[in-house]
Amino acid sequence: MDKLEAKNVNVFYGLNKVINDVSISIKPNSVTAFIGPSGCGKSTFLRLFNRMNDYIDIFKMEGKVEIDGKNIYDKAIRVEELRKKVGMVFQKPNPFPKTIYENIVYGLRIQGIKDKNILDETVEKSLKQAALWEEVKDKLKNSALALSGGQQQRLCIARTLAVEPTVILMDEPASALDPISSAKVEELIYELKNNYTIVIVTHNMQQAARVSDTTAFFYMGELIEHDSTKIIFTNPKNERTQNYVTGRFG
């Protein structure tokens, strides 16, 4: 069964239609890249899956967004529960102004987990998964803000992993990083796909090509083409996709 599925989704900001009749299905344990020019709606669409758009006053949507076959916009869904299952990593590394340790356990603390053993275990496990353990294991009590940008971003990924989501949404996770840190984050994404379903928005087409299994091209709020990344980058079916991936857009 598909992990994520959107059916005929329309999104409005006030009177502006920013997503126009998009349907997509995403397989479990895969990396899907959303590409497209700025303002094409890919970030907005990504944020539908953990309902981060709900905070925008003028946001309105139609259609269905399903995770594991359940409509997440159903009245019975508690959005806090949903977000434990669907983690998110943002463009700019945004660790909390707390220690590295507190950053990781935040998700558990707000769930009311106090057992020190569980917290300690989670910190080690998540940092190892995010390939950060070796770099920070001796300074868990230091401020997370003292880490480098790339380490901060991997910390944010570790923080997300700590609550054991099944889906991870990434909104341009490497765009604010230098090439080396960016490559590390990419390798991490590649590793994580064995256990998680990952959706990544990126402006960097090479990044999409390198890390993803399937790629979806958005343009003007519409999903133009969604296919295996190999096809999108060697033989796209749609001319607009071809123009975009070859850099001849416009």
């Binding site: 806090e80 977000r83 434990k84 983690g87 909390f96 603390r109 609550v163």
Partner: protein, 285 residues
């Protein structure tokens, strides 16, 4: 003369104009403080602080006024901080950003600019008469709380606004509720700003005279107030009272009392600055 030279002359001219303006302000302050110090410093001793007011300027002290000021500060803080901070949090985080919110926002900012004597009249009517508190400490503190509420609300909102949106998003994305996000992230991160606002508001309240006179604070208090329902005096009123007397000795007393009042204000401001710097060092974005 070409343009670059002209621009440089203009640039320099403005620089010296700015220096002149700044020195003018500093000079006035120096003259004022120097004057007060010369006149009043010699009069300050332990007796001056522990004596009650007296008809004899040499025996008069500020004890009831100083204690009254501390009482007023404490009560005002207890009343105004929870109200102001909560209102600030509500308006910034919970209130929907519609037209009503905008009107509310403008009015709160306007309230901060209302002359303090108007608050005195309001306090006299509502706290003094309708609620029957009379000229008590509680009535005074309530009135001053009203006076500084807008400042606390506005500064709380500004401090919350200064927390990057990314932190809020991160917290929500981790599955935190709104209250958890405010309690665990926004308040700790904005604590420095909130505290600074509170202390600046309190140091404004400490110098207020007019509203307290209006609600009936006494100029002559021969006792130390012991409970919130007692009548009271505060330092500014004591100063005002002494200044208006003809004897030279009271003028010196007033100068000495001003030094004490300035000291208290500076200490409060100092604490505010210390806390702000401390928190800013800790929280770097």
């Amino acid at each position: 003369m070409n343009n670059a030279v002209k621009n440089r002359i203009k640039d320099n001219a403005f620089k010296y104009f700015g220096i002149a303006c700044t020195s003018f302000g500093l000079l006035m302050l120096a003259i004022f403080i120097g004057n007060i110090l010369i006149e009043g410093l010699a009069r300050i001793d332990w007796d001056f602080i522990t004596n009650f007011p007296s008809r004899n300027p040499d025996k008069a002290g500020i004890l009831p006024a100083l204690v009254g000021t501390l009482w007023i500060m404490g009560l005002t803080a207890i009343i105004a901080i929870p109200l102001g901070v909560s209102a600030g949090i509500y308006l910034e985080e919970y209130g929907r950003k519609n037209r009503l919110a905008k009107i509310l926002e403008i009015n709160i900012s306007n309230l901060a600019g209302v002359p303090s004597i108007i608050y005195g009249l309001l306090g006299l009517e509502i706290f003094g008469r309708i609620m029957g508190m009379g000229g008590s400490l509680l009535a005074g503190a309530s009135t001053l709380s009203l006076l500084i509420l807008p400042v606390i609300i506005v500064s709380t909102r500004e401090a919350l606004k200064a927390v990057p949106k990314s932190i809020k998003e991160a917290s929500f994305a981790m599955g935190a509720s709104k209250w958890q996000t405010i309690w665990h992230q926004l308040l700790p991160a904005s604590f420095g700003g909130v505290i600074t606002g509170i202390i600046l508001a309190l140091s404004r309240a400490i110098g207020e005279t007019a509203p307290l006179i209006v609600i009936g604070a006494l100029a002559y208090v021969p006792f130390v107030p012991a409970s919130p329902t007692d009548e009271f005096s505060v330092l500014p009123i004591q100063i005002f009272n002494w200044i208006s007397r003809p004897q030279k000795g009271f003028a010196i007393n007033a100068a000495s009392a001003i030094i004490i009042l300035l000291l208290v204000t500076f200490v409060l401001n100092g604490i505010a600055m210390y806390l702000r710097n401390r928190w800013q060092r800790k929280v770097r974005w």
